[in-house]
């Protein structure tokens, strides 16, 4: 194994030990990752912007705090010198942030999101910005203005490019292909857990309120939550510890102590009560998903957990209710993109036609669809029938979970109904794509923490994930149960490297390094 692949194949935990012991420098670690990105990004399109100079600068600073090669120093931060990728939904100071939408072309925030600031304060190094579905709306990363991101995994004996899932497809793909040690992501209906399952990585959606939403491009504010994608459960615990915390700038960020998640990992599951929600056994569930689920039950049982069936009666209504609530909130949040304050502007005859032209040119098809649905369900005369009804159903979904958690400590379910599919295979019917989130969306509706852990391979040779769902603010328990599944299942599988220096898989919509859109000086009228 070359030095480069040795350094990029490390877990965050091992890299942290190696840096502190002085086995290698943060500069070397960062350079190795930049070289991997350089070789892989043409084929995978995981990064929409690399920030090599800034990364090397940050690494140099980390090395000063670490004390340098061969020396050991302990005043370093929890993530000192750890190179991370950042989903393009997080505002990064002086670094272009677009949410992978044409309407935010050239937007360079003069501020930093709280979550990324927390990571830099802990010593982490930013490698660049990662691809995602436009405004985080999608389950395949095909809705990106920078073109689709490709899954490093392929079906056995088949070169068809597969989707990495979405919306955090770039985060998942980059972590799976060793283009960073960990990545930030966001999850509104499954956007961390579903791509983690599709790429054989670990994805953690924390409890609503655990991480600040300040500085994250808003999609559906009552559902959005930031979390990490990593290659191990331990790494997810380390990253969450750094990302989480109270933030006065987000009124929904909760003022609760962040526990020591790493410590919780070693506790095992002996005596832990694990619930199996019977309504997740949906019609037409594939045999391999059922087997995977049973395997997970057997692993937890063997480790001393007590298994019992529970009922979440309103499960089947979560997804349709979500497709009222999320578009409603999106249509409101996205009203700010009007061509006046930032991003794209397309002139018109008057101000209204300027708005209409700008938004027509700036939003992609899926975003338009959702803004229109949201506008419709919130329009006069329909609010009670749609939005209010959906929010009542949300109460019932939350109640189901509360009752289940009276009996059990954690729930186990599949993360997705299928393994990764091919680019362009789904999408003719929007509802078919929405069904990807059938097992993940309930968790967002109830504001709970959820963790996807790699649990095996499909018949096609691609990864599958199992999901653990916990009580509010009890990420510690899902992490320790996740650790047991990870150990039993062999952990994050490694895809065969076909992508290094491979020709670009598909046409990229726009070069990633496109400069800021032209600014015009106005005339006084």
């Amino acid at each position: 194994m070359s030095k480069q692949s040795e350094l990029t194949n490390l877990t965050i935990a091992d890299a942290r030990n190696g840096l502190r012991a002085g086995d290698f420098t943060a500069h070397e670690l960062t350079e190795a990752h930049l070289a991997n990105i350089e070789a892989a990004n043409g084929a995978l399109n995981a990064y929409v912007l690399t920030t090599a100079d800034r990364a090397l600068e940050m690494a140099k600073e980390s090395d000063k705090r670490l004390g340098g090669k061969g020396k050991s120093k302990n005043d370093a931060g929890e993530l000192e010198g750890i190179p991370l990728g950042i989903k393009d939904l997080f505002a990064t100071n002086n670094v272009r942030t677009t949410a992978c939408s044409h309407i935010l072309d050239g937007f360079v925030p003069p501020y930093e999101s709280t979550v990324t600031q927390n990571l830099w304060d802990a010593g982490a190094v930013m490698l660049g910005k990662l691809n995602n579905d436009e405004f985080a709306m999608g389950s395949s990363n095909e809705n990106s203005d920078f073109g689709p991101c490709i899954n490093p995994w392929r079906r056995q004996g088949d070169e068809t490019p597969l989707v990495p899932g979405g919306s955090s497809g770039g985060s998942a793909s980059a972590v799976a292909a060793n283009l960073c040690l960990g990545a930030t992501a966001t999850d509104t209906g499954g956007s961390i857990r579903q791509p983690a399952a599709f790429t054989g990585t670990v994805g953690l959606k924390p409890t609503y309120g655990r991480c600040s939403r300040w500085g994250i491009v808003a999609f559906a504010s009552s559902l959005d939550q930031a979390g990490p994608i990593t290659r191990t459960v331990e790494d997810a615990a380390i990253m969450l510890g750094a990302m989480a915390g109270h933030d006065p700038k987000d009124s929904t960020s909760v003022d609760l102590k962040v526990p020591d998640y790493e410590k919780a990992l070693t506790k095992g599951v002996k005596g832990l009560k694990v619930g199996i929600p019977k309504e997740y056994r949906v019609d037409g569930m594939s045999g391999e998903i059922e087997d995977l689920w049973q395997q997970g039950i057997d692993w937890l049982k063997a480790a001393g957990a007590e298994i019992q069936e529970v009922s979440l009666k309103h499960t089947k209504y979560a997804l349709p209710a979500y497709y009222i609530i999320a578009p409603a909130e999106a249509s409101s949040n996205l009203a700010r993109y009007d061509g006046v304050r930032y991003g794209l502007r397309v002139e018109g005859d008057d101000i209204v036609s300027m708005y209409e032209n700008t938004r027509a040119a700036g939003f992609g098809a899926e975003v338009k669809r959702r803004v229109l649905i949201g506008t419709y369900v919130l329009s006069a005369g329909y609010y009670d029938a749609y939005y209010l009804k959906a929010q009542k159903i949300r109460t019932l979904i939350k109640r189901d979970f509360d009752q289940a958690f009276d009996k059990v400590d954690v729930l186990l379910a599949p993360t997705t109904p299928s393994p990764a599919f091919g680019i362009g295979e789904k999408g003719a019917d929007p509802v078919e794509m929405y069904l990807n989130d059938i097992f993940t969306v309930t968790v967002n509706m109830a504001g709970l923490p959820g963790l996807s852990v790699p649990a095996g391979l499909s018949g096609e040779g691609t990864p599958l994930g199992l999901q653990l769902i916990g009580r509010p603010f009890d990420e510690a328990t899902i992490l320790r149960a996740g650790r047991v599944i990870e150990e039993a299942g062999g952990g994050s599988p490694t895809p065969e490297n076909w992508w290094s220096d491979a020709p670009a898989a598909g046409k990229v919509a726009r070069p990633a390094a496109k400069s800021a859109s032209k600014k015009k000086k106005g005339k006084k009228s």
Binding site: Y317, A321, R341, V352, R369, T375, K392, K519
Partner: protein, 95 residues
């Protein structure tokens, strides 16, 4: 719920998104499909159920009503497609 092209255009105007004839035709079917699919919610008896207003069971935080930030108009307009003297510029609204 059957959506027709006239309704698509009305919603698109409310949303301030200009749509082409081709888009209107496609959206008519897509929106109909999505709204038909959400109709299954009508099966659920929600009489006497309060709508969820927060995903958290904690009261919303309040803070003192005071200025905590600001004083940098040049940063605010930095990303504007059109600005002058730290003002956003828009087409004439009032004659």
């Amino acid at each position: 719920m059957q959506v027709d092209e006239a309704l698509v255009r009305k919603i698109a105007h409310l949303a301030r998104i200009k749509i082409t004839d081709k888009e209107a035709t496609a959206l008519k079917d897509e929106l109909t499909g999505i709204l038909k699919w959400v109709e299954q919610l009508e099966e659920v008896d929600t009489d006497g159920v309060d709508p969820m207003s927060s995903a958290e069971e904690v009261p919303l935080k309040k803070r003192a009503d005071e200025v905590t930030d600001g004083g940098y108009p040049e940063k605010i307009v930095k990303n504007a497609p059109m600005s002058e003297d730290n003002f956003f510029m828009v087409p004439t609204v009032v004659e």
